[in-house]
């Protein structure tokens, strides 16, 4: 930008001014808001393909009983195909799983855990929330009668705790709503004052300028007379209003200084709108995400061979054959006309497979994210009782923590399970090297900095590292731009009789909707091929 600004010091100043505002999310309030008007929401596909015309006696073997595999099984079975599903785990759902009392888990590092949460408490250590526009996921929750409840994905009362900023607000828990009010208020004030003096080089007519001012005053909750930001009731009160004369109207809260807000870097949690997949309105199944898996299982469980591992996938001109080994160590071979393979590519790439070398090379081009979560059972819901935080996320820049999330179930109950960290990448690799007890200690030390009641309320923990799960070797596929351009189209196409489905074969990576919509797309392709045969 700098080298384009040679026309005068004034322009340069304004440009810098805008760059600073943009960094605050200030201008994006207006710009992204307008862009959003033309933005169509909702899954690309809201309903499964109609597979009409009959299955012509064809048989399909499906590898993996996660949401992709069970979606394919459900739709193909309904269309008349003979379906057999192979699942390595002793239960269905894949990553759609929930840890509650008695849930056993041994990871690749050899750490054994048994979940000791009280009855009724759980942690969704896999998927945990459903954006309202993931219509495909919501198609099946409705179809299978899985009750949903609100998932609080944004909470102005939740704290922001950033240690790496500077100034008096760094290393202090601050309510998100306070930071939002102040950062946007001051930004609006600057903009409003600038605009009122004709200081913006944007081509605003006098009429537009008046409207713009009106908007900015409203957006930042400014004093319309002097265009100043002096705080607003939405950020909270020093003394809350109530009955009679005392407290009566209460006492307004004092905003933080603009410099302190900027220095804190806590504004990092603010944006005009959320990311596409981080909608404020989210849903979760009542009682745990695995209720979705159980919904599928009620319909396709009879087709699943559990505790059975895939050892080799072969194909020829007349069909596919999959060599498997069951839980007792007995080998067998399943033959079919086609195969829909939903194994994560991280796992599939070490399975012997008859496929072209180009196809196999493409599988090597994707990486899988190390992902950690930990559930901490607290004997008292101090976040609700002492802090008035009902659900939502405490964002932090503490390495290995990332966010602490308060449960959206069991409001005002006695106990609750808090998500103590949700970390990805190298931070996750580091924490996962610890034994479960040390992971819990690490999570508690971090949470204690934000909630004084954290450690004393702790009862027990259950931690999960997706990269240390032998059936996943990572939380989700991560595509580089090159991988998307080169490898992804090759894999989406499949290799003759082998079709790939799963979140990794979608642009909704890591989401259940990606798994479901990918399965819809692949069964539709498979069915179209069958229809073309005599």
């Amino acid at each position: 930008m700098e080298n384009q600004v040679a026309t005068g010091a004034g322009v340069l100043t304004r440009r810098r001014f805008f760059e600073q505002l943009a960094a605050l999310g200030g201008m994006s309030l207006a710009v992204a808001g307008l862009e959003a008007l033309g933005f169509g929401f909702g899954s690309a596909r809201a309903a499964p393909p109609a597979l009409s015309g009959g299955a012509k006696g064809k048989k399909v073997v499906i590898l993996g009983a996660g949401l992709a595999g069970m979606t394919a099984a459900y739709e193909l079975d309904k269309a008349g195909y003979q379906v057999q599903v192979v699942e390595a785990r002793s239960f269905a759902g894949g990553r759609c799983q929930t840890a509650r009392k008695g849930f056993k888990y041994t990871d690749l590092a050899g750490y054994d855990q048994v979940c000791e949460f009280d009855e009724g408490h759980y942690i969704n250590h896999g998927p945990w929330r459903i954006p309202y526009h993931h219509l495909s996921t919501l198609h099946y929750t409705k179809l299978f009668g899985v009750p949903l409840e609100s998932f609080v994905n944004d909470n102005d009362a939740a704290y922001v705790y950033f240690e790496k900023g500077s100034g008096p607000l760094a290393g202090k828990p601050i309510r998100k709503g306070e930071i939002a009010a102040d950062a946007r208020g001051y930004t609006a004030e600057l903009l409003a004052k600038c605009a009122s003096k004709g200081g913006l080089d944007a081509p605003l007519s006098a009429e537009d300028r008046a409207l713009f001012l009106e908007y900015v005053i409203h957006e930042g909750r400014l004093n319309p007379k002097d265009l100043s930001y002096k705080g607003t009731d939405g950020r909270g009160f020093a003394v809350h209003p109530g009955a009679g004369l005392d407290p009566g109207p209460g006492k307004p809260s004092i905003p933080y200084a603009f410099k302190d807000v900027l220095d804190s870097r806590a504004w990092y949690v603010l944006s005009s709108v959320t990311e596409y997949e981080q909608q404020r309105t989210m849903l979760q199944p009542v009682g745990g995400m695995d209720q979705i898996a159980k919904g599928f299982e009620r319909h396709v469980g009879r087709l699943i061979r559990y505790s059975t591992r895939v050892e080799k996938i072969s194909q020829g001109p007349n069909g596919v054959s999959v060599a498997v080994r069951d839980g007792a160590g007995q080998p067998s071979v399943i033959t079919a006309d086609y195969c829909i393979c939903t194994l994560p590519l991280s796992v599939l790439r070490s399975v012997q497979m008859d496929a072209s070398s180009g196809f196999k090379d493409a599988m090597a081009d994707v990486s899988y994210a190390p992902v950690n979560k930990i559930g901490l059972q607290m004997k008292r819901r101090f976040w609700e009782e002492d802090h008035a935080i009902y659900g939502g996320h405490v964002y932090t820049d503490m390495p290995g923590i990332n966010s602490i999330s308060l449960p959206s179930y069991g409001w005002q109950g006695q106990k609750g399970v808090v998500l103590g960290y949700y970390a990805f990448g190298s931070e996750a690799a580091r924490i996962s090297a610890m034994p479960p007890k040390e992971r819990a200690a690490f999570a508690l030390a971090a949470g204690q900095k934000i909630f004084p009641q954290y450690r004393e309320s702790f009862e027990n923990a259950f931690s999960f590292c997706w990269h240390l799960d032998q059936n996943n070797l990572g939380g989700w596929a991560e595509w580089s731009p090159e991988g998307r351009a080169n490898a992804y189209p090759v894999l989406v196409k499949g290799d003759d009789r082998i079709y790939l489905a799963g979140e990794h074969m979608s642009y909704l990576g890591g989401w259940q909707a990606g798994a479901i919509e990918s399965a819809w797309q692949q069964v539709e392709r498979l069915h179209a091929r069958v229809q073309q045969q005599a």
């Binding site: 690749l108 590092a109 998927p127 240690e163 790496k164 900023g165 500077s166 100034g167 760094a170 290393g171 990092y268 949690v269 990311e275 997949e277 981080q278 991280s346 070490s350 090597a364 990486s367 899988y368 994210a369 190390p370 996320h393 964002y395 390495p399 990332n402 966010s403 949700y422 990805f424 990448g425 190298s426 931070e427 996750a428 690799a429 580091r430 996962s432 090297a433 590292c465 990269h467 240390l468 032998q470 070797l473 990572g474 939380g475 989700w476 890591g510 989401w511």
Partner: protein, 134 residues
């Protein structure tokens, strides 16, 4: 904690780690503790990895091969391996790789911080992290 204090604190930590680690556990090479922290979850404390999931580092030709390639792998990641360029300093990457290249029967020349710095210059800048994913 103020931003100004951070580098000072970090330096103190490194210093005290060196002071403590030096005489107290004389047998431990400097990169071992960092290897145990950042790498051992997948590649295992004895460098044997996990078959079919995470490659063994003990006796692996790639590990004892050209320095620039090994350094690049740690900085940028690949497959299931995350990129460490945003989390580890040049000195830390060098110490870890020197440890890995001289342990469990591996015998290869040490990696210097300058080797890591050189590899970093060619690499893509670190991506900014999202607050949440999924």
């Amino acid at each position: 904690m103020s931003k100004r204090n951070l580098p000072a604190r970090a330096a103190m930590l490194v210093l005290s780690a060196a002071v403590v680690a030096g005489p107290a556990v004389a047998a431990d090479p400097p990169g071992k503790a960092m290897y145990m922290g950042s790498c051992s979850a997948c590649h295992r404390p004895d460098g044997t990895g996990v078959k079919g999931a995470f490659p063994a580092l003990a006796g692996d030709p790639f590990v004892v091969g050209p320095k620039s390639q090994v350094v690049g792998r740690v900085l940028n990641g690949r497959g299931g391996m995350p990129a460490f360029k945003a989390d580890l300093t040049d000195a830390q990457v060098a110490a870890i790789l020197t440890y890995v290249r001289s342990s469990w029967g591996n015998k290869a020349e040490p990696v210097n911080p300058a080797d890591v710095a050189a590899a970093r210059n060619g690499g893509a800048p670190a991506q900014t992290r999202s607050l949440q994913a999924h």
